[in-house]
Symmetry: C2
């Protein structure tokens, strides 16, 4: 019996690594999660991931023919993770090579998680048939993946799309990258929490429902929930986040003129409570010739999108992918 | 006798329109200048330009086979100038159509002046053989043209590359586009002059050589000249300009990861007096993984670069252009 050909999709995060096996139709056939901190280096991770993939493929009678890896600061050209501030694996980490040698899968490509999300959106999400669009990831960090003239855009060095490190505040908050005022320091989960914490220290926040929560334990869902009930401080924190994110989106659209922008990740799933103010500020600030031309919405990828995105990268490289319509 | 095939290159500026005839090798065979204010609308300009081109081509025994037009807010896809703040021709102006019908030249394409400069740089300047680079124009306005994966990047709507309208100062100077704090409001000729004027009003500028000039008549060459003699106020004005420009360049490189950035236009010709502080601030601010990877320098296009750039656009469209080596 001929084995079904599948793709390994791996998403490396600061907290967890998601590993999955994906069909060409974009279905995740099996998946697992491993805490990133379990692995002192990329070699140890590559070994464990390969082990799981081999065992699962054998059990499910699958043949893994290609692999895609999404990782912070993943460089498509070199196959390395390069100076990822949110990872314990420091400096230049040759992850694609480590994975190829541990797994025996010859086709293994890496890119950053936002690029993987963009390819996933193009293959399996809301961007089917679009040639110029952006995916912005809003999670622990903030990232960007850009499809330009129908293709993933890597730039001269494989590192294009660092949307999170566009400056939005002069001499603003210190960012993990070492610079100041990056949009990541405001529109990431921790950025929103910090904004709310700062506002909660002001006298006008006296009656905020968020006051009942230990500030050190405040979460984004707390803030979104309070805002849905009309809490002024929560709404103000979200509005300020929306302003900075809109500012960065406008700067990005000035340069790239995408037709669509898809927001992806934890904050994007908050729904109207973030999207309504964000769309307002984006429209207010955008260049005149962009008005009415750019659609801003939420990613249509399903829950396990990180694996699907990484797998789409693998399939795109495998060169066998035909455009999949629902 | 067979006529030599040539391209019309037209550059529309806020003050002057440059019209030329250019060989495929990038030599300007004839050129003229017409003040933009002479023409109440694009139709009148198209008629006058066509007239000059026809007479000149006939006299010089040339056949104009294609035409490229660089214009502020020129949209490659539509052939229109769209809401150009620095032009008297308001709203949406169908210049390519007007020009085709007045001149009888079937192949006439339009793009913004910075995109034309980028194509010129790729064909005839310092970017031969480069696949990912940026040209930033520093003149009356500030613009950007991006070659991505070897091709001019127009975005979804033909308007990509609006580098000048990236915000660099929160709630900063009002820009011609109606927004606040755009890099154009700081790193254009008038932006630099305004910065110097503001600094000259401070007590510490008391001994500045620039104090001898009527502030309303201050020019960029005055400021550069004073800085070359070590004038503190002039140096401070240039340094501040360099900081804002560097900030926008870093944001752009975060997104686009070009291998080279070429500066073009009046300010770029100032030389070391601007380039030394600019390179310093750019290096200080850039993302870690970009260090040592991005070359920042001045355009290698000659004097009449605007015509050459527009003509390169025409040739690129004509599809006959072979890569020209010196």
């Amino acid at each position: 019996m001929k084995l079904k050909q599948v793709c390994a999709g791996i998403d490396i995060g600061g907290t967890n690594c998601h590993i999955g096996i994906c069909s060409i139709e974009g279905t995740v056939l099996a998946s697992t999660v491993m805490p990133t901190a379990m692995f002192p280096d990329a070699k140890a991770f590559a070994k464990a991931a390969s082990q799981w993939l081999k065992e699962t493929a054998m059990r499910e009678r699958l043949e893994i023919v290609t692999a895609g890896i999404g990782a912070p600061n993943g460089n498509y050209y070199t196959g390395n993770i390069e100076y990822a501030p949110n990872l314990e694996w420091k400096g230049i980490v040759p992850l694609a090579e480590e994975f190829k040698s541990a797994s025996g899968i010859d086709e293994a490509v890496i890119t950053n998680d936002a690029n993987a999300a963009a390819i996933g959106e193009q293959y399996y999400g809301g961007a089917k048939g679009l040639d110029n669009f952006a995916v912005i990831t809003l999670g622990t960090g903030v990232g960007g993946g850009f499809i330009v003239n129908g293709k993933m855009f890597y730039g001269a060095d494989g590192m294009a799309g660092e949307f999170g490190h566009m400056t939005v505040v002069n001499e603003g908050r210190l960012c993990g990258c070492g610079r100041k005022g990056c949009v990541e320091a405001y529109a990431s989960a921790s950025g929103l929490i910090r904004t709310a914490q700062e506002l909660l220290e002001k006298p006008e926040a006296e009656n905020s429902a968020l006051k009942k929560i230990n500030p050190a334990q405040l979460t984004c869902p707390d803030i979104f929930e309070a805002a849905r009930y009309g809490d002024d401080t929560a709404c103000a924190a979200i509005d300020q986040t929306a302003i900075y994110l809109a500012e960065a989106l406008v700067n990005m659209t000035a340069l790239l003129s995408p037709s669509h922008i898809f927001l992806y990740g934890g904050l994007a799933r908050a729904g109207d409570v973030l999207m309504v103010p964000l769309k307002y500020h984006f429209k207010q600030r955008m260049l005149k010739h962009h008005r009415g031309r750019i659609e801003l919405g939420v990613s249509l990828l399903p829950e396990n999108a990180a694996i699907i995105g990484a797998a789409a990268l693998g399939w795109s490289e495998f060169g066998k992918h035909e455009f999949v319509e629902d």
